[in-house]
Subunit: 301 residues, 2 copies
């Protein structure tokens, strides 16, 4: 079982504090710290870890302990909206685990956080318990400074924990979501209007694919334009379908696709699905991938 | 590091003997038995295991110990050509390991086998030390029954071990090769001549791609034909290039590709290469695949 977890912490300016948090995660059994990065202007750090349910749970609780002790939102300043010392904790199913199991894990960890640290917890995305509390932006609106007032209004009692913010650590959104793929397609043109039109054609907000966020931007140093995207559910809106649609829309303007790029990590299954599509592979099973077979064999031991 | 190893054992009729061999492999640290299958008419079993260099070495030596004790080629009968109780042992680089390292492992295991079991060893494929002893078929020609005479002729002294066959266990070919992919493309026609012409166009033996073996066969129950292939080096002759060529050649006869199929295991990288090709992904690195990143992180611990 592989669950990815990407906690966002409201601390990006004190490297020694961030390094101590990374060390705390590394010391936990059953989980691996894959990456972490900090942004000083956002005053925020993002950790990427992966492991089984018990491992990521232990890591998140250990990280909470450090963050609640070391981060004080009363004095925190930064560009990125935030409401908690540990701001957001998404659990992401990668392999051998269902979304339902990640939702259950979000609830379990949320209850434990509230119990141990007296931090109120809102469940979000797939773990959300209220229709109006699915999107992170809605939960976080008003930020830490507006949190006490917001929590006192109807419909904003947290899913777990006290009915008021933790004095220094605020509140935390804990949830489950699909892996997000940062995917860009570069066009062999400098016509920004073409990139913007294509972005509008494929993104959900203007009538396109449900799990695509997109914008058209110039890559000025290269003299070309890019359709810059987030794919928020690669199973339901797969990479290959987005690619083929962008290519077709670009052709309508006489523009070719120069190349595409994946920024950061991508689940193996998202690439495998593209291979299956283009090669027209019938009846393929995930455990035919040698590495998957090997991993499932390891976990049986 | 992941090395695949696919020992072929000349025993496929006594299930209890094969099961005991499987148990011996399962008991070895650092290696996992992914699959094993036996064929009674061939009187032969194929084990698929994977692990690091030390793990697969231990497993192969443990398997030799059982096979030399339990298999007697003097009384062995079966359809498949064979020259040893342990007939063939290929090491296959899968991830985080080079072909050169697999060649070195083949030499090390070959020397150990000769030393411990007094079985002569021929190195083959990438590990071969003689130009005329690269192909398994050439080494095995004459089989067990002709082995003593063959070994006495010039150019057939083994790479390791005694100059004559082991009385009951014969000789063994140990080598290194790329992972082999069994890949078939089904055509939306019953015209066998089309499948045969396409197979001839793409296979090395008649002028096609270097690492393709192919034949055209009928799938009578479905009323269609198939181009049935082995891809013997998916890095140098990738799946997508073979697929596109077959599709183009079929179109020349007015025939469409119905579907393709992968039989058995395929390395993740072979599918990833197809995704990169069709999606025109630039600058992609293997450690952007989340599972690869996770595995490399695990091995650092």
């Amino acid at each position: 079982m592989v669950i990815e977890c990407v906690p966002n912490i409201s601390e990006g300016r004190r490297p020694e504090i961030v390094a101590a948090m990374a060390d705390v995660i590394r010391a936990v059994d059953g989980v691996h710290l894959l990456d972490h990065s900090s942004d000083a202007s956002h005053n925020r750090s993002v950790f990427t870890l992966a492991g089984d349910a018990a491992g990521v749970e232990r890591a998140v609780l250990a990280l909470f302990e450090r963050a609640v002790a070391d981060v004080d939102l009363q004095t925190h300043r930064g560009e990125h909206p935030r409401m908690g010392a540990v701001d957001v904790v998404p659990f992401v199913p990668i392999e051998g685990v269902t979304m339902a199991e990640c939702v259950a894990l979000a609830r379990k960890v949320g209850a434990a956080v509230a119990d141990r640290f007296k931090v109120p917890v809102y469940l979000y995305e797939e773990a959300s318990s209220h229709p109006g509390r699915k999107n992170l932006e809605d939960i976080r609106r008003g930020e830490f400074e507006g949190l006490a007032a917001k929590m006192a209004t109807e419909g904003w009692a947290p899913d777990f924990g006290p009915a008021a913010p933790h004095p220094s650590a605020g509140a935390t959104a804990i949830g489950a979501r699909m892996a997000l793929i940062a995917y860009n397609i570069n066009l062999a043109t400098d016509r920004l209007d073409v990139a913007k039109k294509i972005a509008a054609a494929i993104r959900q907000s203007s009538g396109g694919y449900r799990f695509v966020k997109a914008m058209g931007i110039p890559l000025e140093a290269r003299g070309i334009v890019q359709v810059s995207m987030n794919l928020t559910n690669y199973e339901k809106t797969p990479i290959f379908r987005v690619f083929e649609t962008v290519k077709r829309e670009a052709a309508r303007y006489g523009v070719a696709v120069l190349e595409s790029e994946i920024v950061g990590l991508v689940p193996s299954a998202a690439l495998g699905a593209a291979a299956e599509f283009y090669l027209q592979i019938a009846g393929f099973k995930a455990d035919q991938v040698l590495e998957n077979k090997l991993r499932s064999s390891e976990s049986e031991v």
